[in-house]
């Protein structure tokens, strides 16, 4: 690890205050975080500590109240609507904690949807969706079901498949194994490890130490601040 890979995520002093929340306690109170290309990191912390808030900002889905965020070298605050859309569909694959599938649409349609906004030729879409669904281990019998007919774990896997169809270089996953049994959770972690081995940068949120242990770096958040940032056991060779 002599060469220092370029930073994909470069966040400085991020502050997020939700307006409307009566007591003005910021969800983020000055978070600085750098994640380099090819990293595989876990974000941990108690419920309400600001993990999802941070992830949304890193995924260019929300804007910080203060602080700067550079994604792959570009200051996100300067991007226009069109450029932001491009980043969201080409660079970042986002898995929501609440899945956010279109309830009345089929599994297949949900997974194909991100490709509608890209140049992927129509003939190729289905094949890519099939590959993504297979990689998360969702039985093919479910592909034609409406997504609101699925169990939480099945929805979670559809959400992961959807985040992968556009081959993003950065995958941000908010508790991707939260609804999965150990075996399926392990399979998903294997998938992430494989994606990471292919060179993708992965940041995921988890509450489970054994999931965090399978990543290379753990960032701990408490009350909107990073309290610990360390390489996991077995990965201490890095520059954490």
């Amino acid at each position: 690890m002599a060469d220092i890979a370029p930073a994909v995520i470069d966040a400085r002093d991020l502050v997020k205050v939700y307006d409307g929340a009566g007591a003005e306690t910021p969800a983020l109170r000055g978070v600085s975080l750098t994640v380099r290309e090819g990293e595989f990191a876990a974000v941990m912390g108690p419920s309400g500590s600001g993990k999802s808030t941070l992830m949304h900002i890193l995924g260019c889905l929300d804007t910080p109240t203060q602080g700067t965020y550079r994604l792959a070298g570009r200051n996100v605050a300067t991007l226009d609507d069109h450029e932001l859309a491009q980043v969201r569909r080409e660079t970042v694959g986002f898995v929501f904690q609440a899945f956010n599938l279109l309830p009345r649409s089929t599994v297949m349609r949900n997974v194909v949807m991100p490709m509608l906004y890209t140049q992927v030729p129509p003939g190729e879409r289905e094949a890519r969706a099939v590959a993504a669904l297979e990689s998360v281990g969702l039985e093919s019998a479910l592909w034609t079901h409406r997504s609101n007919e699925l169990s939480g774990g099945q929805m979670q896997r559809v959400a992961i498949a959807r985040s992968l169809v556009n081959n993003p270089s950065l995958v941000l996953a908010d508790e991707p194994t939260g609804n999965l049994d150990t075996a399926t959770g392990d399979a998903v972690m294997e998938l992430f490890a494989r994606l990471n081995a292919e060179g993708r940068t992965i940041v995921l949120i988890t509450h489970e130490p054994h999931i965090a242990a399978r990543t290379k770096r753990v960032v701990r958040i408490q009350d909107g601040l990073i309290v610990e940032d360390a390489a996991t056991v077995g990965h201490q060779d890095g520059d954490a």
Partner: protein
């Protein structure tokens, strides 16, 4: 986003929310159909009223007696109680340049008895000219002739309804006898049905004028003289010459003291037109309100839809749709809904207009203006209220949109 994908997304979205789409379309249909139907009925009624006046003859002048010597309309009395017009007056008018037909008449009320059937009817003494001037045609037998009039003949021509009342549906009354007071009238003709108009010829009995003088009115005075004028454009001139002639014959120098009055059908048509025009305007007003209500319905549906769908907009943005792709999708959906609703609305309005007009006994008049107005307003509302809220939602950050309640 490709155009084919846009279409496919639009159809998918509309069909997977059938109730929502259905209600929106319904709002548009109601808005458009009500306007088209109302205006069709309004204009249809107006046309049919004007037509029935025109059918009665808009080139008619009616002279009737009126109490002379007093000024102010309140002092006048109308009808046969004033005795000022004579058969000679009528004959003198026949010589005027612009007058093509003169029909003097004397009317009264009489009890007719035929075969034990009784009818109290309006009985009118006429000359043969009356048929032409009033546009009456006989379906059976013939009208009162010159000879009947000269001979005080006891003959009668029955209006279509009256004939049925007295003799029943099937029978041909020609040749039958009717008793009325001292008269024993022979039916010589039955008139064709005239329909509802300004006169009620259908329920009237016509006898020779001289017979009426002798047996019905008991005097030699007329209750009216109806004149046809050769040129409708010159009604006013004809009216003036009729007035001058009669004033001179009656030896009256001041027109304010005339013992007759002249009614001009052209003026009447104008008056009635303005009344029916008001009626149409009223219906158009009601239609406008329906359009407004329909518009609010569409607006409401569209706004509800967008609120419901703000989450979807957030999601689509999160996976990489830009604002213009979102706008295009919602615009396509609005256009599709208003198009379907518009076509159905025009067809429904057309249908309702025809059925309702039929029930009212008029013919519906559907104008392209009303179709364009109704469809235009509804399309405008549908598209604007489908599109702009979606645009606003698309301007939110994906997370704000996803969390929108």
């Amino acid at each position: 986003m490709r155009f084919a994908d846009l279409i496919s997304e639009t159809l998918h979205s509309l069909t997977s929310n059938k109730v929502r789409s259905g209600l929106t379309i319904l709002g548009i249909v109601v808005g458009i159909a009500s306007v088209i139907a109302m205006i069709a009925i309004g204009q249809g009624s107006q046309a049919s009223i004007e037509q029935s006046i025109q059918a009665a003859g808009s080139n008619l002048l009616t002279v009737s007696p009126s109490a002379g010597g007093q000024s102010g309309p309140g002092a006048r009395s109308f009808g046969a109680s004033v005795q000022s017009l004579t058969r000679e007056d009528a004959e003198s008018l026949a010589g005027l340049a612009l007058v093509s037909g003169v029909a003097p008449s004397a009317q009264g009320q009489a009890q007719l008895v035929a075969d034990g059937t009784n009818a109290n009817v309006q009985i009118v003494g006429v000359t043969p000219a009356y048929a032409t001037v009033s546009g009456l045609t006989v379906v059976s037998g013939s009208f009162i002739s010159e000879r009947d009039d000269v001979a005080n003949a006891q003959v009668v021509v029955l209006g279509s309804t009256l004939a049925v009342d007295l003799f029943g549906e099937a029978a041909d009354p020609v040749g039958e006898h009717i008793r009325s007071g001292n008269m024993l009238l022979t039916v010589v003709g039955v008139l064709e049905e005239k329909g509802a108009g300004l006169s009620n010829a259908d329920s009237t009995a016509f006898i020779p004028l001289s017979t009426a003088f002798r047996y019905v009115t008991g005097s030699q005075y007329l209750s009216s003289i109806v004149l046809t004028v050769t040129d409708e454009e010159q009604m006013d001139m004809a009216e003036a010459s009729v007035e001058a002639t009669l004033l001179q014959r009656h030896g009256i120098s001041d027109p304010d003291y005339a013992d007759f009055q002249i009614q001009n059908m052209a003026d009447m048509l104008e008056t009635v037109s303005s009344v029916t025009g008001t009626f149409t305007a009223l219906l158009a007003g009601i239609a406008g309100i329906s359009l407004f209500v329909g518009g609010i319905g569409i607006m409401n549906m569209m706004l509800t839809t967008v609120t419901e769908r703000t989450r979807e907009i957030g999601l689509r943005k999160a996976i990489g749709a830009d604002s213009s792709a979102i706008s295009a999708q919602f615009l396509a959906e609005s256009i599709t809904l208003t198009l379907i609703g518009g076509v159905l609305g025009v067809v429904a309005g057309w249908g309702i207009g025809f059925v309702a007009a039929n029930l009212l006994g008029v013919s519906a008049v559907i104008t392209i203006d009303s179709v364009l107005l109704a469809a235009g307003v509804c399309a405008f509302i549908g598209v604007v209220f489908g599109y702009y809220p979606a645009r606003r939602a698309a301007a939110l950050s994906p997370i704000d949109a996803l969390r929108y309640q």
